[in-house]
């Protein structure tokens, strides 16, 4: 068993998350993956935006940056480009990443800059007590969707892949081993990697939608998450709310800061081409 306590700022506990919240499980997966990947705490930066999940960096003993709403990837891009030798991890939520930060998300994917992004997707704005997010499924209730949500949700992994991310995976708080493996793998890669971690919010999403306790919501993940191969075998009319977990995409493409370094090297080596 790794000593995960060395990654936690114990003096900042207890955390602010509600009973039954899945975010502690995802945060635990992030630090177990960091441990497994062997990252140096001094050389690792964890960046977040605003929201429940974005409070995680405050509990973690690294260089930590809690930025403005939606902007984690913008700050992280500055960090990675300024010091490419640092490991940069972004922890964010579905509202932070997919709504207010959507533009930064697609452009970080497009650049393929070496940042590992973990989205704690709890399908709701929890910090502000339950408004619908871009990841709230259609027809679900939220404090701002009292008659049922008519918005359609993103497929974040499809979005990341289409925008140019070179590692894309999805898991849930029930499938923690898979989640740790995915984040570990992402941390070892060069380009932009994206992991969507489904995380239950029994307080502001589950209760209003009668989804039961945190544990019951995790059982729902167990019963509805399937691999891509299994998903293909289910007739479309029987898929219901089933969704795909696992590694969704991986490709090797040039990483942004390495490409920039090539320009610097070329200019310093040959004196440029004025």
């Amino acid at each position: 068993m790794p000593d995960i306590w060395k990654y936690i700022r114990k003096e900042n506990l207890p955390h602010i998350w509600c009973a039954g919240c899945g975010h502690g499980i995802v945060m635990g997966a992030v630090i177990r993956a960091i441990d497994r990947a062997g990252l140096d705490q001094d050389k690792t930066v964890i960046v977040s935006g605003i929201g429940c999940s974005s409070r995680a960096p405050g509990y973690l003993d690294f260089n930590t940056l809690h930025t403005t709403h939606g902007r984690a990837l913008a700050f992280a891009t500055g960090i990675k480009l300024a010091r490419p030798e640092l490991n940069v991890v972004v922890v964010t939520g579905d509202g932070d990443l997919a709504a207010i930060g959507g533009n930064h998300f697609i452009h970080a994917c497009r650049r393929n800059i070496g940042i590992t992004t973990v989205c704690f997707n709890n399908s709701i704005y929890g910090m502000t007590s339950g408004q619908y997010s871009p990841m709230t499924p259609k027809d679900r209730l939220a404090s701002t969707a009292p008659y049922g949500n008519i918005d359609r949700a993103f497929d974040l992994c499809a979005l990341a892949k289409a925008a140019g991310a070179t590692y894309v995976a999805r898991s849930t708080t029930y499938h923690t081993t898979m989640l740790i493996n995915q984040i570990t793998k992402a941390l070892g890669r060069q380009g932009f990697s994206f992991i969507e971690a489904l995380s239950q919010c029994p307080t502001y999403y589950g209760r209003r939608n009668r989804l039961g306790s945190g544990a019951a919501m995790m059982e729902w993940y167990r019963d509805n998450a399937v691999t891509a191969q299994a998903f293909e075998k289910i007739p479309p009319s029987e898929r219901g709310e089933k969704f795909i977990i696992g590694e969704i995409y991986a490709a090797d493409e040039p990483e942004y800061t390495s490409e920039y370094q090539k320009i610097i090297d070329k200019l310093s080596g040959g004196g440029g081409s004025r």
Binding site: R9, N12, Q41, D42, K43, V45, V47, P57, G58, D61, F62, N63, T64, L65, H66, T67, T68, R71, L73, A74, F75, A76, T77, G78, I79, K80, L81, A82, R83, E85, L86, N103, H104, I106, H107, Y260, I263, I264, L267, S268, G272
Partner: protein, 375 residues
């Protein structure tokens, strides 16, 4: 050997930034500031620095903060609409004490306004543009040569005080070309932020020293600290303690106000015996000075006061200069934004006459001379 060059204000800004140690620029194209980004995309990688064109102005400001936290001197440049978008993370930089320089080459607003025409409509926005209280420092040059010097000053003050500096240009100065002699490389005084002198376990990233400025460790240097835009304590972690919140805000404001004299730059022209004083800044100081000289030729005792430091506003200097004046005239390319400050400085004893010009043109000397004659 003198090195005389024909430079644009925007180019002088680039030269000043590089002389001050700029190593990171993030920006988004916008007229009339774009030359700054274009030039830096060419120059920065030549000195091992980094340039990135971000997806918007908000992201540019975020990237600048991130790079500065890694120890690089960082800047962004924008104009009107882009400056509005900078405000969110400009407030963040002020609250989290992240040094950086934000250049705003002003054009006619509000909204898209007149993208290629000059204005000075963002003067109060530079002070109050983001929500909440924050310290604000701004400089504004009237010539190309001064653009170089004040860019260096913007970086130096930003580093000294761990606070963002908004460097204001207007489109006239940004695009005007003048012959300038730049200082030799290495002869420019460069200030770098204080680094912690204590080991990581003793480091308090948001505790001011005697000068009220906390030393700043760079990410990656072994000081693992937390930065948040939430109200934070001296360790950098969120707090709800009213005493801590109050102490922090007072420190942020006071670290700037206590060096007010050091960072205040004001030019005086013929004010000693002046009956009428023209208060002008940026490109407006140029026709204003001509008008003052013309007035003197006509036997009118006119003078001019020109602040290069806009924020903190040099109220004492203006009050002192205007002590014996009959009137102060404020030609501004806005509806009278700095006239408000002048009024506040001089009180009701001296009438402050506004001379707004908001159609995208600079005042002519004749217009200002007429105002002097009528004062």
């Amino acid at each position: 050997m003198s090195d005389v060059r024909l430079l644009q204000g925007n180019e002088a800004c680039v030269e000043g930034a590089l002389a001050a140690g700029l190593r990171f620029f993030a920006g988004y194209p916008i007229t009339p500031s774009t030359e700054i980004a274009e030039l830096l995309s060419e120059r920065l990688p030549r000195v091992g620095g980094k340039f990135i064109q971000m997806e918007d102005e908000i992201a540019s400001m975020g990237a600048v903060c991130g790079a500065s936290l890694c120890g690089l001197k960082a800047m962004t440049a924008t104009s009107g609409p882009g400056f509005s978008l900078k405000q969110e993370n400009l407030g963040y930089a002020a609250y989290c004490e992240i040094p950086c320089v934000v250049v705003n080459v002003q054009r006619v607003g509000p909204s898209t306004g007149m993208p290629t025409s000059p204005a000075s409509g963002d003067m109060q926005q530079a002070r109050w543009g983001s929500h909440g209280d924050r310290p604000a420092i701004s400089f504004m040059p009237s010539s190309v040569r001064e653009t170089f010097d004040l860019t260096v000053m913007s970086f130096n003050v930003s580093e000294q005080l761990r606070t963002p500096v908004v460097f204001l240009l207007d489109e006239v100065v940004g695009h005007m070309r003048e012959s300038v002699t730049l200082p030799q490389p290495g002869s420019v005084k460069v200030v770098n932020r204080k680094k912690p002198a204590v080991p990581p376990d003793k480091y308090l990233p948001f505790a001011g020293e005697e000068d009220l400025v906390p030393p700043m460790a760079s990410f990656g240097d072994g000081y693992r600290y937390h930065v948040t835009g939430l109200t934070h304590n001296e360790r950098g972690f969120p707090t709800q303690d009213p005493k801590v919140a109050t102490r922090m805000m007072f420190r942020l404001i006071e670290k700037v106000s206590r060096v007010r004299k050091q960072i205040t730059l004001v030019d005086y022209h013929h004010v000693e015996d002046a009956d009428v004083i023209v208060f002008a800044y940026g490109s407006m100081a140029r026709p204003s000075l001509r008008a003052v000289r013309n007035a003197r030729e006509l036997g009118i005792r006119a003078g001019m006061i020109r602040p290069a430091t806009i924020w903190p506003f040099p109220a004492e200097e203006v009050r002192e200069a205007a002590r014996n004046a009959r009137a102060i005239i404020c030609p501004e390319m806005n509806m009278g934004q700095m006239a408000l400050e002048v009024e506040r400085a001089v009180g009701p004893a001296v009438p402050v006459l506004r001379l707004p010009k908001v159609g995208g043109e600079l005042h002519t000397p004749a217009e200002i001379l007429d105002a002097i004659k009528g004062a």
